[in-house]
């Protein structure tokens, strides 16, 4: 559904304004005008014709940014499209998302990148920044045209869905990406070690008679990528880390000054392999859910900043694909509409971090890491803002998702924290209970 952003100014009054980019945290008003943040402060005047929105008791923050999302367009539009994904993102409080290129055909050229951008503009919900493929067809052989793709709007390159197996290709990609100052995002998995595995290699897998993916399969590639980042001076971004071993390798690499950044998903911060008990396919994803010690290490690393940001790895699948034996179900869970709720309920209410820290990891830092506009309420910044409620509990109902897909491990879970208003480029793209 194409919607033109509203041109009128918007005044968000009386909310607790948290801007992690400037360490700002106090009750204030926020004025959005001409697609920009015009002013932030207490007692702002109301311009003519402005929409006044009472944010008292709520949190006003820079729009959340999710740097790892799978929109299935082109190729699997039954699972998700750019439009439905962008709309689901807006409902989740995201004003921008980065779309991974493992579409069908693969987004590995400027025309394909441009297509995603145009679909995003037509949809008019959250901004969708395409990520281009590292290699043509994601086959791991020849580099795609980074320059052309960046010119068409790509903000990073990745072969996610698959690992970059060839260390030579990864090295070349890191070096070549330096010209365009974009991150190279890698899905860290040693395919020979992981082959055939469907969940974490551990006692739960043993009890269920399912083949496991050992943590070492991820750690080996994490180590390799850190070393290549050091060798090349390029920026590698490690996708969806899942193991405490990976955290340790990453920490030491950062201490040595390597240009490595990393993300972690809400489900890896919350669930362990026990979520797969009873062959639950909605808990099957790659990398898999691991053990309590891994969850603890990931949370600590996120708090410290060793892991830079949260990203959902939103991976929609048609319901009947997941309705099968565990071995045969595809990997992946959706996450855009539950990410903030899970992160807030588990990390902030759980006492692992403060709300400003969480917002930094879900907005400011993702923007900085991928050089995106947004993540800040500095006057002059794009008017990408989210108003969040962090008091009322709500229950996750997959059937109510705006995403086309329902494969969530959090069905029925009671969360706290959700977007009540999402503004992109100065226009309202989502409002809770307004049916928009």
């Amino acid at each position: 559904m194409a919607r033109a952003p509203v041109e009128q100014p918007i005044l968000l009054t009386g909310g607790r304004v948290i801007d992690p980019s400037r360490g700002f945290d106090q009750v204030a008003d926020v004025l959005l005008q001409d697609h920009r943040v015009a002013a932030v402060g207490p007692g702002l005047g109301v311009p003519d014709g402005a929409l006044v929105w009472n944010a008292a008791g709520r949190i006003v923050a820079p729009g959340l940014i999710d740097v790892h999302v799978h929109l299935r367009e082109p190729g699997n539009e039954d699972e998700e499209t750019v439009a439905t994904g962008a709309r689901a993102a807006a409902a989740g409080g995201f004003t921008a998302i980065c779309a991974m290129p493992n579409t069908d055909p693969v987004t590995d050229n400027q025309a394909a990148v441009g297509f995603v951008v145009r679909q995003s503009v037509r949809a008019g919900f959250a901004r969708v920044h395409p990520i281009g493929a590292i290699s043509l067809g994601q086959r791991g052989e020849r580099l795609a045209e980074f320059g052309e793709m960046v010119g068409a709007g790509a903000v990073a390159v990745s072969d996610d869905g698959r690992p970059v197996v060839s260390s030579h290709l990864m090295r070349t990609a890191l070096e070549y990406a330096r010209t365009f100052d974009i991150p190279v995002a890698d899905h860290c998995e040693d395919p020979a070690l992981a082959a055939g595995g469907v969940m974490h290699e551990g006692l739960v897998a043993t009890r269920h008679g399912l083949k496991g993916i050992p943590a070492a399969a991820e750690e080996i590639m994490v180590a390799r990528d850190c070393l290549l980042a050091e060798l090349t001076g390029g920026h590698v971004h490690l996708c969806h880390l899942s193991s405490r071993g990976s955290v340790e390798i990453l920490r030491r690499a950062k201490e040595r000054g390597a240009r490595v950044t990393a993300e972690v998903t809400p489900h890896h911060l919350t669930l362990t392999d026990h979520a797969c008990d009873g062959f639950e396919t909605n808990a099957k994803m790659n990398p898999p859910l691991r053990e309590a010690a891994d969850v603890a290490a990931l949370r600590a690393a996120l708090k410290e900043g060793v892991i830079d940001c949260i990203a959902s790895d939103h991976a929609p699948h048609a319901y009947d694909e997941k309705e099968t034996a565990f071995d045969e179900a595809p990997f992946g869970v959706v996450g855009l509409e539950t990410a903030f709720g899970v992160a807030y309920a588990e990390l902030v209410r759980g006492g692992d971090m403060s709300l400003p820290e969480l917002l930094s990891r879900m907005s400011t830092v993702p923007a900085q890491t991928f050089h995106l506009p947004g993540g800040t309420l500095r006057p002059g910044a794009p008017a990408d803002v989210v108003v969040l409620d962090v008091t009322a509990p709500w229950t996750v109902e997959a059937t109510a998702f705006l995403s086309k897909s329902r494969n969530t491990p959090f069905g029925g879970r009671v969360l706290t924290g959700r977007a009540v208003l999402t503004v992109v480029n100065g226009g309202v793209v989502y409002e809770l209970d307004a049916g928009r």
């Binding site: 551990g202 043993t206 009890r207 309705e323 034996a325 045969e328």
Partner: protein, 322 residues
């Protein structure tokens, strides 16, 4: 007097049964052994029941054993074999469930290559589902017949030292055995190459032996698992010959044992790979008893699961008006 335990709708695995339920099945199997000794090996207990043997993986022995069990209980049986290659397995499973439900089958005996397939089916149809082997997960009737065989031979399972030998990692028989033996109070060990040992096995309370000689010195009984050729082809072990030399249960190794050791094998045997012919055919082998007990155990399971409709009993009791 304690109430007789009952079983759930489906038999999916021994992990989900209590010791009381397992003992109920074993105790019920005893009278069924007698039925198989009669001239007329048939009782009318399941007359009128329809049972489908749904085997997605080829299996002659288990399927025949179930068929005998079903026929000796006078049930009507239908065999459905599905060659996996021509069929998209995911689709088949859900559609299969729906079709069986629509045909009002009473019971389904299923073997499938995916772990959890029996549970998947059991959740979706009202018929009783009996797991005849799902991927690497469980083979509960095999576990039960192994328990019955050990109980017959040794009198009790509690305190018995049983070692499983071979490819534990890929073995559903091993998993079912481990659950059943632990629940009935046996001491359980496993022995085999580390490449074929599953993660976390010690956390279940199972000992591990690096060498078969140590396992033999310890055990009262060995359950020798079949080693599949493809384990060598997939690089888990260098060769079958080496496996035999290092882990083979041979007559020479057993000679050094302090006491006679009961020898079990789920079959079919790779003679000269995991086990010597002399051992398999020797005086302490109960391999053929396992087969006999298999039919009795399966009859017991079918009998116990085919619960009736007790609400009809009240009507029957009231009888004709005076």
């Amino acid at each position: 007097m304690t109430a007789t335990p009952t079983l759930d709708k489906d038999l999916l695995g021994l992990e989900y049964l209590t010791a009381e339920q397992i003992n109920l099945i074993l105790d019920t199997a005893e009278p069924f052994k007698e039925v198989s000794e009669r001239t007329i090996k048939k009782v009318p207990a399941l007359r009128g029941k329809t049972i489908v043997n749904l085997f997605f993986e080829a299996s002659t022995r288990t399927r025949i054993s179930f068929e005998f069990a079903e026929k000796r209980l006078s049930a009507d049986t239908v065999n459905v074999a599905s060659t996996g290659s021509s069929v998209q397995k995911g689709e088949t499973l859900v559609d299969t469930a729906r079709n069986l439900e629509a045909m009002r089958i009473d019971m389904v005996v299923m073997r499938h290559s995916a772990s959890g397939a029996a549970q998947f089916l059991g959740k979706r149809i009202r018929s009783n589902v009996i797991n005849a082997g799902d991927g690497q997960h469980e083979h509960p009737t095999q576990g039960l017949l192994d328990l019955l065989t050990l109980r017959d031979k040794h009198g009790t399972i509690a305190g018995l030292k049983v070692c499983l030998v071979g490819d534990i990692l890929h073995s559903r028989v091993a998993r079912s055995n481990i659950w059943g033996l632990l629940k009935l109070g046996a001491e359980v060990a496993v022995c085999g190459p580390h490449t074929l040992m599953p993660r976390g096995i010690e956390e279940l309370g199972v000992k591990t032996f690096r060498r078969i000689e140590d396992a033999i010195a310890w055990a009262d009984a060995l359950n020798v698992l079949r080693l599949q050729l493809e384990r060598m082809e997939r690089g888990f072990i260098p060769s079958l010959r080496e496996y035999y030399r290092v882990f083979g249960v041979t007559a020479e190794r057993l000679e050094h044992a302090a006491k006679p050791i009961t020898i079990m094998h789920p079959g079919p045997m790779n003679r000269g790979v995991e086990i010597d012919s002399r051992v398999a055919d020797g005086p302490h082998s109960v391999i053929l008893d396992q087969v006999t007990n298999g039919v009795a155990v399966r009859m017991a399971v079918l009998y116990l699961l085919a619960g009736g409709r007790p609400e009809l009993a009240d009507a029957a009791k009231r009888g004709p008006a005076d």
